[in-house]
């Protein structure tokens, strides 16, 4: 799976949880999920679980600590897909 495709799927998964919809227009790897997209931190778990289902991967607890930006999510998924 290509990085671009993963990026699009990650954004699609994030979208229902985004409170700042305007920030979605310019979303990039550097976009901060909590600070810019205003995703509630409690919803981050739902997001990561959705990654597991969508990409058929398993994400350990500790790896959630590395998720701050959209690019972090993409990198995490890529790493798990090997």
């Amino acid at each position: 799976m290509e990085r671009k495709e993963i990026f699009e799927k990650v954004v699609k998964i994030l979208t229902p949880h985004v409170k700042n919809q305007a920030a979605l227009a310019g979303v990039s790897d550097a976009t901060h999920i909590l600070d810019e997209l205003k995703v509630n931190s409690a919803r981050l778990v739902d997001v990561v679980l959705a990654f597991e289902d969508e990409f058929d991967i398993e994400i350990p607890d500790e790896d959630v600590d590395s998720v701050n930006t959209v690019g972090d999510c993409v990198g995490l998924v890529l790493a798990k897909l090997g």
Binding site: L34, S41, V48, L49, E52, P60, D61, N68
Partner: protein, 251 residues
């Protein structure tokens, strides 16, 4: 970051914090409890049973103890501490004073506040902040409980906005800590003031609390985040059950 990977610098800092708090314990612990009892006029029903269970668990859990409670006011951790043991007992058994992870904005905004929470075994955290920082706080907390200390967590991740235990809260911190500490015990605590209809900053003056405690051994065969989530859900389910008992007893 797992507890065993905690840097030497972090471990040393935590041990230093513990010792500073322990040295000052004969001052701050009685003062805190006196403020609640005489200053605010609060009373707690069910203290005797709660204290017996807590002491028994402390004797039988060298692997540490995690106290998980419902959350309605900003001073719940103080009320719970008071419910679980008298001041003198904490002074003599300082390891039983629970470590806590209060919201930095609420409890550690200024230097005097930071100094106070430092002495009171707190590791402030910015909820919704940088995930790496939150992870480091969880790692420190886990390491402390693994050394036989008591830790206090609110599995809902914040005060109950619905005024009832929110079993739909998808927080995984408690599950993550429990799974990282195979020898640790979990004590669920449900406490609520009789006049506490909803969440608030402070309970009312003269409030009378009712406290319930019960031990739980949450488990999950699932791995990763889903396993931690499942464990957290079991703890929340237990607290919700205790809440039902609380209201049933009042009816």
């Amino acid at each position: 970051m797992a507890a065993q990977e905690l840097r030497l610098r972090d471990r040393t800092a935590l041990l230093l914090q513990r010792e500073v708090g322990r040295l000052l314990a004969p001052l701050w612990i009685p003062v805190v409890i006196a403020v609640m009892r005489f200053g605010m006029g609060w009373r707690i029903e069910g203290k005797r049973e709660a204290r017996e269970r807590f002491r028994a668990l402390r004797r039988g859990s060298p692997g540490g103890l995690l106290v998980c409670a419902n959350h309605l006011t900003m001073v719940d951790s103080f009320v719970i501490a008071w419910a679980l043991a008298p001041a003198w007992w904490y002074v003599l058994h300082y390891g039983s004073v629970a470590w806590n992870t209060p919201e930095r904005e609420n409890f550690a905004r200024t230097w005097p506040m930071r100094a106070l929470v430092y002495v009171m075994k707190c590791i402030p955290v910015r909820r919704g902040g940088d995930r790496r920082e939150v992870g480091r706080v969880l790692a420190r907390f886990t390491w402390l409980v693994s050394r036989g200390e008591v830790g206090l967590m609110f599995p809902e991740g914040g005060r109950s906005r619905t005024s009832r235990v929110d079993t739909s809260a998808t927080t995984y911190g408690v599950g993550r800590i429990v799974r990282a500490l195979p020898g640790a015990r979990v004590l669920c605590v449900y406490q609520r003031g009789n006049g506490q209809e909803s969440w608030s900053d402070l309970p009312a003056r003269g409030e009378r609390f009712r406290v319930r405690v019960d031990e739980l051994e949450p488990k999950s065969s699932r791995r990763g985040l889903r396993g931690s989530l499942a464990v957290s859900q079991q703890v929340l389910g237990k607290l919700a059950e205790m809440e039902q008992e609380h209201f049933h007893a009042r009816a």
